[in-house]
Amino acid sequence: MANADCIVLQGGNMAECHPVGFQWVSEAKARGAVVIHVDPRFTRTSAVADKHIPIRAGSDVVLLGAVINHVISNDLWFREYVLAYTNAATLVNPDFRDTEDLHGLFSGFDPETGHYDTSTWAYADPEGGGIDRPGGPDEHGAEQSDRAAGEAHGSGGPSLEHAKVERDETLTDPRTVFQILKKHYARYTPEMVEQLCGISAEDFGYLADAVTRNSGRDRTTCFGYATGWTQHTFGAQFIRTAAILQLLLGNVGRPGGGIMALRGHASIQGSTDIPTLFNLLPGYLPMPSAGRHDTFTDYVNSVGSKKQKGYWADADAYAVSLLKAWWGDKATAENDWCFDYLPRLNGPAGTYQTTVSMLADEVEGYFVLGQNPAVGSANGRQARMAMSHLKWLVVRDLNLIESATWWQDGPEIESGELRTEDIGTEVFFLPAATHVEKAGSFTQTQRLLQWRHKAIDPPGQCQSDLDFFFELGQRIRAKLADSDDPRDRPLLDLTWDYPLDDDGNPDPESVLAEINGRHLTGDKAGQPLSAYTEMRADGSTEGGCWIYTGVYADGINQAARRVPGGGPSPSQSEWGWAWPADRRILYNRASADPDGKPWSKRKSYIWWDAEAGKWVGDDVPDFPVDRAPHSMPDPDLGGPAALTGDDPFIMQADGKGWLYAPSGLVDGPLPTHYEPQESPVANSLYPQQQSPARVMFPREDNLDAPSAGDFGVDVYPYVFTTYRLTEHHTAGGMSRWLPYLSELQPQMFCEVSPQLAAERGLVNDGWATIISPRAAIEAKVLVSERMTPLSINGRTVHQIGLPYHWGVGGTDAIVSGDAANDLMGVTLDPNTQIQESKAGSCDIQPGRRPRGEALLELVREYQQRARVTVETDNIRITDPAREIIDPPPASDPPPPPGADGDEPWGSRW
């Protein structure tokens, strides 16, 4: 980031949420880089940016789509890069139909199931039709969504049956990706940006000029985002829009370029790499699905075809090595490496499906590990009510957080909905160890693993999760020791024999060594693997997470490397260890031109040394090191061997950067703007209001506010968005118990513009009650010009900002308060199963909220007034006949009770 010439921070608040990372932005700015912050609020990031552009929450695809349109129509794209390194020239299946033709839908949508059949989106096959995903007919979008397949691509693109694509290097064929892209974004104009985002043509011009002027051979632009992009019903598409723009401008794989995911937790990257996620096995191998992955062969073929390009073609080696790591000698070629020991998915099993299953009394037991769902999950009431249905609950944390004490002092106890004596849940609270009381590795947001040494032993009965789960595993295995039930074999055959210290606890380095993997046979037997390319599918290697192979190369904990400053290399490679293969910038082959020369001296990074016959430079080349720039191997070779000298995207099935995604996404091959699940604004781009493939939970305890065009939109007229503050951490478990942090931000508050304050009679430092169809909460009021009312389709849209750190209940918290997440509904992105918590609809009134039953009555009264039902917002396809782009006459509905009446909320605008 420090090498960027322009930094666009959008969908994130870097100075507040990553202050120390922000030093690199400060440094780039001091060197002359332009820093632009696009955000609904003027934040501490905006304060030190060159420019703040206020945007309506959830409209980012319109803005970035318009920049793409600007880049294409003004011929500002990086021709050489785009032609050589992206799929711009690739032809798409002739049956593909764009949103242009289908009122905002792509071809293949099934309104019955709410899923796309994605087969028409595929690349054209020279032999006719499209190039399928491997393993037979294309996996239906429904199945992909159910297993959150989008997230399975955390280390590379989805698979293709083969990589023999048709290309038109002139980019003129209407079936080329480039032409499709051009047509798709033609309607994303500056006028549309003004109408939907509330951004003036002038501000749009500033952004578009800054990114295009600072891209090319000699300059690079970087994007940074966070949950402002991911937490939407089509969040993955927000990021895809930025990816398309960055590929068009040649800003991927180069120093100072890229799209940085600014992740919010110490090892949240690690938690996806080695996932505690329902849909993944370590290293982004998918969890097997019933019916589709019944045999090991079906499974590995669908993960990566031998005929596709790049390293995913060796998925079988990664999978076998994982199974060998888990079941050791018991995993043999004869029993398909114990593949049948793995449980199968037949539908999504994410947090919110689990919540619903708890409410249905299907889930009996729940482990909550350093997490605070009573405060941190969307629709908090639903999450707490769900826990009250459990038979048993285990909470492991440092403090008595709200998720441990809701049965005693939660909001539902206060409102009278639950009585402590009636709750049958057995609760175990186990004190956890802090980060200094255990050794282990965190993976930070740039894929860097860093080892923490243990400073002291955990005090009292505190215990690390490593020690706890090891012990739990030992006890479970001991209790089953005499079992002959086949279902217990996977537990009994599990490799669970780590070297122990004096207290009987496992050595964390031995776990890291297992993750890294080792040779099992031959003269290297027992030695650690040094790279994932050493993994074999014949059972001669084991390794728990292929992308981490190398972290324990030579038997040395590479994550613990701590050469001051990372050593002399510009990539600072002697500090920690980055996956994969210790590469610091991914796809860095793209930092050189097709001939292998740096694009410019200023932006040189990796280049081809013709004399030595290899790639050299400041980083580990992310490419076969001896593959010459112009080599053209036979595509039939498959795998890494099939990569041509100009295929920098080595984890993509065709070696190219994807402007258009022929597979892998379930809600469209190109990002398309839809409105949030609940929005007072009509989608003026297409008749389709919401993302048709979104995951909905139409339930009485998860009602949505009417959207534009529906009766009652004026009852919840304002947009609210949630976020973090520098002074607190997520749901507060690690900050609200700390005096020094609590005093800095002691109370829950809401941020409103002076205009909204005047409209609703809100007073700075007074109280306000915010009401959504799920809940009503109270907050102190901060009236500030940092909140800007936006003009959307000719009407004023007010946005309300709500930090989400506080919660009700908990023991010994220094500060408490109502939880913003209680206001949120649960509707998910079908690619990732992540909830939309960055945009919702609400009302706001001065004063504190009522207590007890009166609080429930208030929420009900609003629901009734808006005539909200489970149908509201949960209709998949918007009736095209309802499309009204122009604002209707201002006389439509009567002003809402309590409103001053001078803001006529049109039904469709």
């Binding site: 990372g21 030093q23 959150a148 919010g264 937790h265 110490a266 990257q269 690690g270 080695i274 505690t276 996620l277 096995l281 969890m287 019933a290 449980p343 947090t351 499906q353 889930v363 729940y366 482990f367 909550v368 590990l369 997490q371 941190g376 048993w392 440092l398 403090n399 008595l400 009636d422 709750i423 049958g424 057995e426 175990f428 004190p431 802090t434 200094v436 282990g440 965190f442 930070q444 947001t445 860093q450 923490r452 040494h453 002291i456 009292g460 215990q463 999760d465 490593l466 789960f469 012990e471 479970i476 279902r487 776990v511 993750i515 701590r562 500090w575 607190h728 951490h729 942090l741 990732t832």
Partner: protein
């Protein structure tokens, strides 16, 4: 306290040092003269990583008498160059928080108060509950006969301050047990 030597009398020191107004060396107390930072007197310094956001700032943990006495930035880290945000700076207080829990607590069904429980018993009880639920909620195949081999009765939600090694053991154990609803902050 040791007997104050005559020469240490402030008034005399004022005149000896020339600091007659008593604004400098003449008025320093023995405590002041003996000041040493606790970072210099710590028994050991351990390199760690900040547990809050994902920037991954380096930390130095100072330990005296088996207690953490100070946590500050690690200047050697190329990621953070010794700097920490307010949360990172408060890490010592996270470890020594006034409300931190050191004992296992147990709430029986319908109970109104916490009870105490020793850790061994608690883990044993949890293992029993785990196996009971698993037995009760086992799903061997789906309706079309494809294998499922799982329990729908046990779920987990992990924070993202878990180590890679911890996540690995959790995933390994739960998967082997057939529990699939294993989730994490990463999706929230």
């Amino acid at each position: 306290m040791a007997r104050r030597s005559f020469l240490q009398w402030p008034v005399l020191r004022q005149f000896r040092s020339g600091d007659v107004l008593g604004r400098g060396p003449a008025v320093t107390s023995p405590h002041t003269r003996a000041l040493e930072p606790r970072t210099a007197t710590a028994d050991r310094v351990v390199q760690s990583i900040c547990p809050y956001c994902a920037v991954g700032c380096g930390q130095k943990v100072y330990v005296s008498g088996e207690k953490v006495v100070q946590i500050e930035g690690d200047a050697d880290s190329p990621i953070s160059r010794g700097r920490l945000c307010p949360k990172g700076s408060a890490s010592e207080q996270l470890v020594n928080a006034p409300g931190r829990q050191y004992q296992v607590r147990y709430r029986p069904p319908h109970g109104t108060q916490w009870q105490s429980l020793d850790r061994d018993t608690a883990i044993d009880m949890i293992a029993d509950r785990f196996l009971e639920t698993r037995r009760r909620t086992w799903q061997d195949t789906d309706e079309s006969g494809s294998p499922l081999r799982r329990t729908w009765g046990v779920a987990s939600l992990g924070g993202a301050t878990l180590d890679n090694e911890e996540n690995y053991l959790i995933k390994k154990l739960f998967t082997a047990a057939g529990a699939v609803q294993i989730e994490n902050q990463a999706r929230i």
